[in-house]
């Protein structure tokens, strides 16, 4: 079983070292790949000094493009599982074994670390929470089952999903659309309870202005992906 920890990072020099350190404590010996989305700060150097391998993007691609680059590399290198942990410290690496265990035992292509299943830690603001509730309602009929935390980026994927995401992955705000991309193939996902923490440094990519654009963009992406529905290939 080959596992890779994927850390997308953009201007996270203040947090990425501690994230890498924590990941190493939880899953020692597991390779860590930081995808540096052309940061303006020392993210790349800090990640390398902390012992991670770094995939540096030549230009800023945005979260989706950056994560997809990591998925593509992981697929080419033959990894069986990839677990994404954000570089801002919001995802608690102590839950990595739980996600891995679910990937191995639950016969699903993707596992989402959900902050709402047990209420182990919820640091989302009012607007974000309202967005989550809205997208839960939108996704419920599309996915055919409820999803509690559709915006969580703390996700693990197996090789089948890795192959799919290497080819097709949303470029911006990927979490919600990725669920519909999975559904296009009738792949399965499960959620496991996880705690989330406040970000340790840096700023969210979803600024006040973008928070108005975000639901429109994601909603459109969701429906475009619904139109592309193709079912599981036999």
């Amino acid at each position: 079983m080959k596992l890779l920890i994927l850390i997308p990072a953009y201007n996270e020099e203040g947090a990425v070292a501690s994230v890498i350190r924590e990941v190493k404590q939880v899953v020692p010996g597991v390779p860590i790949l930081v995808v540096d989305d052309c940061s303006n700060d020392a993210t790349r150097a800090v990640a390398q000094e902390s012992g991670a391998r770094v995939l540096p993007m030549p230009y800023h691609l945005g979260l989706g493009g950056c994560v997809q680059a990591g998925y593509r590399l992981a697929f080419e290198l033959g990894y069986d599982y990839v677990i994404r942990v954000d570089g801002d410290g919001q995802h608690d690496p102590r839950y990595i074994p739980k996600i891995l265990n679910a990937l191995e035992t639950q016969k699903c292509e993707m596992v989402i670390g959900s902050r709402f299943l047990n209420g182990e830690g919820n640091h989302s603001g009012f607007l974000r929470h309202a967005g989550i509730v809205f997208f839960r309602a939108v996704l419920r009929p599309i996915l055919g089952k409820p999803v509690r935390d559709p915006t969580s980026g703390f996700v693990g994927v197996n090789r089948t999903a890795l192959a799919l995401f290497s080819r097709s992955f949303p470029l911006e705000y990927p979490e919600i659309e990725a669920l519909v991309v999975l559904q296009r193939k009738r792949f399965r996902f499960v959620e496991v309870p996880c705690a989330m923490r406040p970000r340790r440094s840096g700023r969210s990519t979803i600024t006040a202005l973008r928070s108005l654009y975000y639901p429109v963009h994601v909603l459109l992406g969701v429906f475009v992906n619904v139109l592309k529905f193709e079912g599981r290939r036999k």
């Binding site: 770094v54 540096p56 593509r72």
Partner: protein, 118 residues
């Protein structure tokens, strides 16, 4: 009549600008076609009164300049749509290329480090 003169001048200016840009290789020939077609259509419609009347009747508007405006608007929407297609395709290729370059550089570095360690 003044309006039609303005649209005539505008279309001539547009055609001249696009041809100049193509000559200086600021616009590739294949992407100038949409603008040139739009410019020529606008020019013909601005000068051909009988065609304007026929079009305004066909479109159900009494005013020939209004019909001309509607057609010009539709033409430019088509041009914009075509360029949205081109830009989207370019963006997809760009992202794929950047990812490929990053992955190749990564693998090259890994190989270099491996051979340096030997």
């Amino acid at each position: 009549m003044r309006f039609l003169n303005v649209t005539t001048a505008f279309s001539v200016l547009l055609i001249g600008l696009v041809l100049g840009s193509v000559r200086r290789e600021h616009i590739r020939t294949e992407y100038s076609v949409s603008w040139l077609v739009a410019g020529v259509v606008l020019l013909v419609l601005s000068r051909w009164r009988a065609l304007q009347d026929w079009l305004s009747t066909a479109l159900g508007v009494n005013d020939a300049p209004l019909a001309l405006l509607m057609i010009a608007g539709a033409l430019f929407l088509v041009v914009l749509y075509r360029f949205s297609l081109v830009i989207s395709r370019l963006k997809d290729s760009n992202v794929a290329l950047m990812q490929r370059i990053a992955i190749l550089e990564f693998r090259l570095d890994e190989k270099d480090q491996a051979s340096a360690g030997k």
